[in-house]
């Protein structure tokens, strides 16, 4: 009986310690990781953006495109007319000097996005941190946002899809575009798949609101041009090396 009491006390003590440890551990661990909690609201403290230096972008290189496709589970299906392209390599030729430039073009994550204005259900939306996304649950597939986008940045899913990735839900009959690798940002990673894949460092990702961020410093030093700036959309993606 005496031994039973001792065993019981020892068991209860160990169990209490284990229970207390398990209860406290997640709180302690969360403080050491900078990821945003799932239920934590996105704030306007940040504005995420990209800076692309066209001088560093190689003509034949499509590493950014391939990395984006791999990251988000995008595959070639029925041809370039109907396949989704979240990012594409564009070759520009100056009409007078014939100078040639190369650059990736994707959703420009506008501060005043026309796609958000025209979407009848509110499926197209802009997060507080400037990332423009599509809520796949309420997108009805009207494609009005594609008509409104000045950059042809959006794709419509023309066929059934399978094997989608958990962090990049996609579905037939809805519209999608570059998410600025929002799943990475929400995990606390300060980069995108395309930025990481660029062998020349032509792409810089960062917080446009932080004057100490690399992107802000580069913009302050050499400036950055918006595509179709006349539309005054205040894009989150800027380009360097494009002369007038």
């Amino acid at each position: 009986m005496k031994y039973i009491d001792q065993y019981r006390r020892r068991f209860l003590g160990t169990a209490s310690a284990a229970f207390t440890g398990l209860s406290i551990a997640p709180g302690i661990l969360l403080q050491t990781v900078h990821a945003k909690a799932v239920d934590e609201a996105v704030t306007s403290q940040y504005r995420w953006g990209l800076l692309i230096d066209t001088n560093l972008c190689d003509p034949g290189c499509t590493d950014c495109v391939e990395a984006c496709h791999q990251e988000n589970g995008i595959r070639e299906i029925h041809g370039p007319e109907t396949d989704a392209q979240w990012i594409r390599k564009v070759t520009l030729k100056h009409k007078k000097t014939e100078h040639i430039l190369n650059m990736p073009v994707m959703c420009q994550h506008c501060a005043e996005p026309p796609c958000v204005d025209v979407c009848p259900t509110g499926a197209s939306f802009k997060r507080a941190d400037g990332i423009v996304l599509v809520d796949k649950h309420i997108c009805i597939g009207c494609r009005y946002c594609m008509m409104a986008c000045p950059y042809k940045a959006r794709s419509f899913i023309h066929e059934k899809l399978s094997d989608q990735l958990p962090h990049a839900p996609r579905g037939k009959g809805t519209v999608e575009a570059c998410t600025l690798c929002v799943h990475r940002i929400d995990r606390g990673e300060n980069t995108t798949a395309c930025t990481q894949a660029c062998p020349n460092g032509a792409m810089t990702f960062g917080d446009l609101k932080d004057p100490q961020s690399q992107i802000s410093k580069k913009l302050a030093e050499h400036g950055g041009r918006e595509l179709r700036a006349k539309l005054k959309l205040d894009t989150g993606v800027r380009y360097q090396g494009i002369s007038s």
Binding site: I77, H78, P80, E81, T82, D83, A84, Q85, R88, K89, V90, T91, L92, K93, H94, K95, K96, L101, V105, P114, V116, D117, V118, C119, P120, T121, G122, A123, I138, C139, I140, G141, C142, R143, Y144, M146, M147, A148, C149, P150, Y151, K152, R154, S155, F156, I157, H158, E159, K160, K172, G173, T174, V175, L227, R228, K230, L231, I242, S244
Partner: protein, 387 residues
């Protein structure tokens, strides 16, 4: 003209033929719609470049025509013209039927038509598209009430008020439909403010064209002979107004520097658009029907009205095709001063050929409108009896 008398449609050959054609085309449209939704839009001619195709051309044409079809009733009630009063009931029915037909096509072309409930419960009030959903359902309701005041003598006192409300609503609705394109600042084809007023003017002729086909098919010859001349004259005016506003649209584009290249593409390129805009719309859709209505060329009134109505509709669809497809297939500028090329057709003129599935779906809008009109003609006293 006091207390006109009305009758329902009898089981005439035209009635039976309309029923058969209506149901057959509706069945074909159902097959097209089901296949498009089941397989996905890759089986259509639409792509990530031309995102709105033939179903949208036909649906927008039907919706614009719907508001114009109410014109006859508006002239009677709002502008108090006795001549048009016996024709007013049918005008409201044609308007509702065309709108329902057009909306059905738009709905079935959605990527997710099963989410209709979402479209009706989630509104982004900054979107002109969302406002149009309210305008369309409101128009069906108002035109329905207006029809009720015309059908029920106890509601007679509210007829004028309902007529004015429906007329005002239709003006806003058509301007709203035009503004769906007018707010698209990204595209050179659509960024001018004339889109709203242009759609209002175009709607008058196109709506009346449908109305003339309906009375040409179902009204008796004696009654037709009483109304044919005046309706023909009104149609001629409407067609000319539509042509004039179309010319103003193209001239406006031409004199705005940014859209001059686009106008050259529409009016002088090796595409189908110059044929549509120089040939089919003005010649087949405007001059030929006016000549037909004026000269008669030995045809009976019913044949004249029906045939000229069909020609106006062919011209109208051509015009809308050039506007909707042409506007998307012309490349958008990416960087000023540079030409662009890419795997996503930047800087390229994109080709579009409507698939059979799209044509099948689009024809369903016309079938729905026809069947609704025929059912209403059979159920309600809409056709005026000759004096």
């Amino acid at each position: 003209m006091s207390s006109p008398r009305y009758q329902t449609l009898t089981s005439s050959p035209a009635f039976l033929a309309s029923l058969i054609i209506g149901f057959v085309v509706l069945g074909i449209a159902a097959i097209g719609a089901f296949n498009m939704e089941h397989e996905g839009h890759y089986i259509t001619g639409m792509s990530n470049q031309v995102v709105w195709g033939m179903p949208h051309v036909l649906a927008i044409f039907l919706i614009v025509s719907a508001s114009g079809a109410l014109n006859i009733a508006s002239i009677a009630s709002v502008f108090n013209k006795d001549f048009y009063k016996p024709l007013a009931r049918l005008s409201a029915v044609v308007a509702i039927a065309l709108l329902v037909g057009g909306l059905a096509v738009i709905l079935l072309d959605l990527g997710r038509p099963d989410r209709l409930l979402i479209a009706m419960t989630h509104y982004n009030f900054r979107s002109i598209f969302a406002w149009n959903i309210i305008l369309y359902t409101g128009f069906i309701g108002l035109a329905g009430v207006y029809l009720w005041t015309m059908l029920d003598w106890q509601m007679e006192q509210f007829k004028r008020a309902a007529g004015i409300a429906a007329f005002s609503w239709r003006l806003i609705l058509t301007a709203g439909t035009g503004s769906i394109f007018g707010v698209l600042v990204a595209r050179e084809a659509y960024q001018i403010a004339i889109m709203g007023p242009m759609f209002i003017v175009l709607s008058l002729g196109y709506g009346q064209a449908f109305y003339m086909i309906v009375i040409g098919l179902f009204m008796d010859n004696k009654q037709l002979s009483e109304v044919s001349k005046r309706l023909s004259r009104l149609m001629g005016v409407m067609i000319m107004c539509g042509l004039a506003v179309s010319v103003i649209y193209h001239l406006s584009n031409w004199f705005l520097f940014d859209a001059r290249q686009f106008e050259l593409y529409l009016l002088n390129s090796e595409t189908i658009f110059p044929i549509l805009l120089w040939g089919i719309h003005p010649v087949i859709g405007c001059i030929l029907p006016i000549w037909l209505l004026r000269s008669g060329s030995g045809l009976a009134d019913s044949q004249k009205l029906t045939l000229s109505g069909i020609l106006v509709i062919i011209g109208g669809i051509s015009q809308f095709y050039a506007l909707v497809i042409g506007g998307q297939s012309f490349p958008m500028p990416l960087v000023e001063g540079y030409s662009a090329t890419s795997s996503f057709f930047d800087g390229a003129i994109v080709s579009y050929t409507p698939s059979l599935w799209e044509l099948m779906l689009g024809s369903g809008g016309f079938a729905i409108a026809l069947l609704l009109i025929v059912f209403c003609l059979r159920l309600f006293r809409l056709l005026p009896v000759s004096k």
